[in-house]
Subunit: 317 residues, 2 copies
């Protein structure tokens, strides 16, 4: 049985796992990234995590088919290059060559959200499907698209940036420097902002019982208040899901994936989110009476998705 | 040399052509569609146009590799079915089987905008590229996407509907029943509406010299007034191009095509449109400093694109 190693390189941890060819994590090692450190120190710990993983499982590099790395930024796997990361401040780093020389393993790179999507398609919520879109509703909206169980990075590479498709021309400012992008309306950050605004406008809302100060509002706050029947929270969520559905509808109208996987903090609401969202998404899918809208599911692998997907990059050498 | 026949089935004409394998039209036949007629009469004229094309070129069916048909609606080529057309009122019509039986030719189907895109990639403005997005800025926004010189109809089929990606949540009503779709802001129809509104608000604008009544406003009107230096027309066009660029940016951020081809009435403005648009598109392409925005070109084949693309469906049997 072929075995793979995947590294999910995050801003906080270098999470490394030994993964079976069916996508099961057999062993896991985690080292702190120390994102403020120099590149060389982080590289050394990435290599160390691979060696630790091998030592602790009594394996050698000869037992491993491939080392895959999920990078929080833009990569070009065809030339083995990390183009840019935001957290780590890497730019034009030939990561494949560096890791190949230091581990003697074949190396594959992908964006971390693409890895998470691949993990969910190989071993998670979308394992019955070949084509999928993963949207992670977090600080922004990350995305990973999978076609024929392989990462899709756009027709000229560079990766998919679903957070920066249109939502409201000229609308809310976005971290990318433009205005009105999808993630400025449908990320967890956007939901928190929308909740705070509703609280400011509605001093009597039960939202204030759950979050006595707006500092403690998180993406769960409006869902908790909605459970209590608070009409302000219900209206916030209805509007938030409308934005989310409008964006998902646009993705469907262009790409027609078999399944949309939602990850990130907001997705933890599960069916509380998905039941109303399915109705709204159908409304925005063109010709939904002729062509069934895609399935809408919750990501199930959590943080493991990134490790599994990174390792599974080795399935298609 | 293999030869192909393509039918561009329009609301007005059944345009049929004999096409070489390099995408050159060798002979053309046109019959009126008579869209109000029954399906059987239209089918008979489609077959007649094929036979006329053969007779007039002294060929027989044995000289033809494939008959391709561009249909103004949704098709599923894998089952040979026209799912629905709007103009012709066809629904679930097994067009492939019907035409195969009556012409003795292998038959391929595609949406007409997909055919136009394929035509431009095989023999037109995008012949140096493998992946392209064609946007036709007309009554709505039609779209055709080509990957590896083949029609892309989404990962589960059904076709791409770029006119119905988001632009302004809750905005202008769209023909699809929703609000705020791309085509409600960036089609020729939308430009005409934006021009008329600006005229109503600005009685002194030179737009009134070009169009003495709003009934005669067309997509050329604001460009003509802008040429005269009219500030109202310049503002209308600047805003229109902003919408168009925001939508194109979204497509780029998701799909990264090598080239964007603009067709339809508005595209006749050529570089008057493209020069300012390129600047605006770059602004909306994520990481445009790292990843060059795609080329932006004008469709060059006009109505022939549909015939050529339909015929060229036969290149990939």
């Amino acid at each position: 049985m072929a075995q793979y190693i995947g590294i999910d390189l995050g801003g906080t941890n270098i999470a490394t796992g030994l993964v079976s060819e069916s996508g099961e994590i057999l062993h896991k090692v985690s080292l702190p990234t120390g994102a403020g450190r120099g590149t060389e120190e982080i590289l050394q710990d990435m290599v160390r995590s691979v060696h630790l993983c091998l030592e602790q499982t009594h394996l050698t590099t000869e037992d491993i088919t491939c080392l895959g790395v999920g990078v929080p930024g833009a990569v070009d796997d065809s030339i083995g290059m990390v183009l840019r990361t935001s957290n780590l401040n890497w730019c034009q780093l030939p990561l494949t060559q560096i890791l190949q020389e230091r581990t003697n393993l074949p190396v594959r790179l992908a964006n971390d959200a693409d890895c998470a999507a691949l993990g969910e398609v190989i071993a998670g919520s979308a394992s019955n499907y070949d084509s999928a879109a993963l949207l992670t509703l977090g600080t922004g909206i990350g995305s990973g698209f999978i076609v024929d169980k392989q990462v899709f990075t756009g027709w000229t590479g560079g990766g998919t940036e679903v957070g920066h498709i249109p939502m409201v021309y000229g609308g809310e400012p976005c971290g990318c420097g433009n205005r009105g992008c999808f993630e400025a309306y449908a990320s967890a950050t956007a939901l928190i902002r929308q909740t705070k605004r509703a609280m400011a406008a509605n001093p009597g809302s039960m939202l204030w019982q759950i979050a006595p100060t707006t500092d403690v509002v998180n993406a769960k706050t409006p869902f908790d208040a909605a459970q209590m029947g608070d009409s302000v929270a219900l209206a916030v969520l209805d509007q938030y899901m409308e934005y989310l559905a409008f964006g998902i509808g646009g993705i469907v109208n262009l790409l027609r994936p078999q399944v949309i996987i939602l990850g990130g903090g907001v997705s933890n609401q599960g069916e509380n989110l998905l039941v109303p969202l399915r109705v709204k998404v159908a409304k925005y899918c063109y010709a939904s009476k002729l062509i069934d809208p895609p399935q809408l599911v919750k990501a199930t692998l959590g943080n493991d998705a990134g490790i599994i997907g990174a390792a599974m990059l080795g399935l298609n050498p």
